[in-house]
Amino acid sequence: MNAENSPKRRKNISYAKWGYLFIAPFFISFIIFSLFPLLSTIYYSFFKYYRQGLKIIGPTFIGFENFSNLFRTDLLNYLGNTLIMWIIGFIPQITVALLLAAWFTNQRLHLRGQGFFKTVIYMPNLIMASAFAMLFFALFSDNGPVNGSLQALGILSQPFRFLASVTGTRGLICFMNFLMWFGNTTILLMAAIMGVDPGLYEAAEIDGATSNQMFWRITIPLIRPIMAYVLITSLIGGLQMFDVPQILTNGAGNPDRSATTMIMYLNNHMYSKNYGMAGAVSTVLFLICAILCFLVYFIMSGSNDSVKKERKGGVHK
């Protein structure tokens, strides 16, 4: 009450109030639509709770038994599968996206038909993942057009059975993820580069900087927050990878469960409405996600010096 008398403090309080007001809708909606389901998920991870047919077993409190069971299974394999498939798809995705974003925003290169290219590269994302997987399945099947062309060209004598091989299956999943997401990443990076003050480039140009130098020394440092965003959201998307491998492998995640991702494993537990194990899997997944994301976030937005040094090293190579 007394604060109103002091103009300085009144200002602070009223602005803080705005801060709370601005974030209120987000948190209200979050509490209603996400927090309760999320808490019940974690809660049930400590229970034996599933369906046997239509009969509900439990819930019976069993402490950490679900978790200890979980670590006796191949959980780490599935985490490994997920991360491998994410990384193999993500490396070309970010490389191509950076390259394209740099080309599109490079005034000197002055590419024509940019509007067309920019529009087209995002388009695979418009196709439903399930439809996309159906098309891929048809393209790469044993008697599909890809095998047909390779045989016609004399590269293969027998059709290559993509989905019977670990490399083939994982490769296709990574390729699909790459195609679906590189346009998205390019758009994000372009939006970031577009926000960079053009005065900086003009000044650098006057100083005789090359395109390469400008890209590495001006663009990259300034779009770092968006890069962090791309990396983190892609990591989260990668850890939650589901529909593409699910539909491409017909729900089996084979060969030898090498295409089984964390969420597919979670989905297997949902088959019997096993809220206990499913809860445990998602709690673990949630913790892994959170740790990785915070790691990435703090590395990307961490001390500038160390990052700058790293980058310089990179340029000289």
Binding site: Y15, A16, W18, G19, Y20, L21, F22, I23, P25, F26, S29, I32, F33, S34, F36, P37, L38, S40, L100, T105, L111, Q114, K118, T119, V120, I121, Y122, M123, P124, L126, I127, M128, S130, A131, L135, A138, L139, G144, L179, F182, N184, I187, A191, M194, G195, P198, T210, R224, P225, I226, Y229, I232, T233, I236, L239, Q240, L266, M270, S282, F286
Partner: protein
């Protein structure tokens, strides 16, 4: 990659050629799948099952008519429902995420750091597992067979928020806000009329992403919607795919997928123009 540009022009020409070549390959890959969809929607079930062909079939009209004739397949209301959900999701997600991001970006308050970290944590939660709890709760709230639970929760879209926050971090000068305050603009007014226009490129980008995600979402809508007049397009497609052997028709499935993709392409083209134009917008600032 040397710093000494001997013949700058020659290098530029090569660079351009390489860029066009790479872009052409990528565009071919991207557009090829639309071509495949179109081809398959013009072929009949047995042709599709016999393998892919690069030439269209003659069943386009037949597939189209079969799809329209199916009374259990309310395509028109499906498009309408999908459109309502996707448009509202895009609007709510972008507006409130921008607002939340700005709230955390521009103001100092006690739980600012905590709020930010909580949102980051939320972002890492997979949607699949809380789905069952979500559906039970919606049923208890009487929101089954309603479109509301499909768009209202997008008010809290941590991923969109995070993008907005990062965008503000790299593009929003606080001086503009200070100047507005001196001019006597209220905080909400400042946000709506000064901050939002600056965030336009970010909003357009996220509006597309949210729209597309909502348009293609099958998982949650399938759990919530039973009534024919409330179903969205992905549910109708799934319904066609589980048709019985007498009516199972991949031609129709592909036709519906093609039909479902047209509105989203239109929306995308409208918004993408804005992204392409955004280059100029970025240039004005500073």
């Amino acid at each position: 990659m040397t710093k000494h540009a001997k013949s700058g022009k020659g290098k530029l020409v090569t660079a351009r050629a390489v860029s066009y070549f790479v872009l052409a390959i990528l565009c071919f890959l991207c557009l090829f799948f639309f071509y495949m969809l179109l081809i398959n929607s013009s072929r009949n079930n047995f042709q599709i099952q016999q393998g892919f062909s690069f030439l269209p079939g003659k069943s386009f009209a037949v597939n189209f008519n079969n799809m329209l004739k199916d009374a259990n397949l309310p395509v028109v209301s499906g498009i309408r429902n999908s459109f309502i959900v996707s448009a509202l999701s895009a609007i709510l997600a972008t507006y409130f995420s921008a607002m939340t991001a700005y709230g955390i970006f521009a103001y100092n308050f006690k739980f600012k750091r905590a709020a930010f970290i909580i949102i980051l944590l939320i972002m890492t939660m997979p949607t699949q597992v809380s789905a069952v709890g979500f559906v039970n709760q919606m049923q208890a709230m009487g929101l089954r067979n309603s479109l509301i639970p499909l768009f209202l929760p997008t008010i809290s879209s941590p991923v969109v928020f995070f993008f907005m926050k990062q965008y503000l971090d790299s593009n929003m000068p606080m001086e503009i806000v200070e100047a507005a305050r001196i001019d006597g603009s209220s905080e909400l007014h400042t946000f709506n009329f000064i901050v939002l226009p600056i965030m336009k490129p970010a909003i357009a980008v996220q509006a597309i992403f949210t729209f597309v995600t909502a348009w293609n979402n099958f998982f949650i809508p399938a759990l919530l919607l039973d009534k024919a007049d409330k179903k969205t397009l992905p549910i109708l497609i799934a319904q066609l795919r589980s048709a019985d052997f007498l009516k199972f028709d991949m031609g129709q499935v592909y036709m519906l997928i093609t039909i479902a993709i047209i509105p989203i392409i239109i929306v995308y083209l409208i918004l993408s123009k804005y992204i392409v134009r955004g280059v100029a917008l970025g240039g004005v600032k500073g």
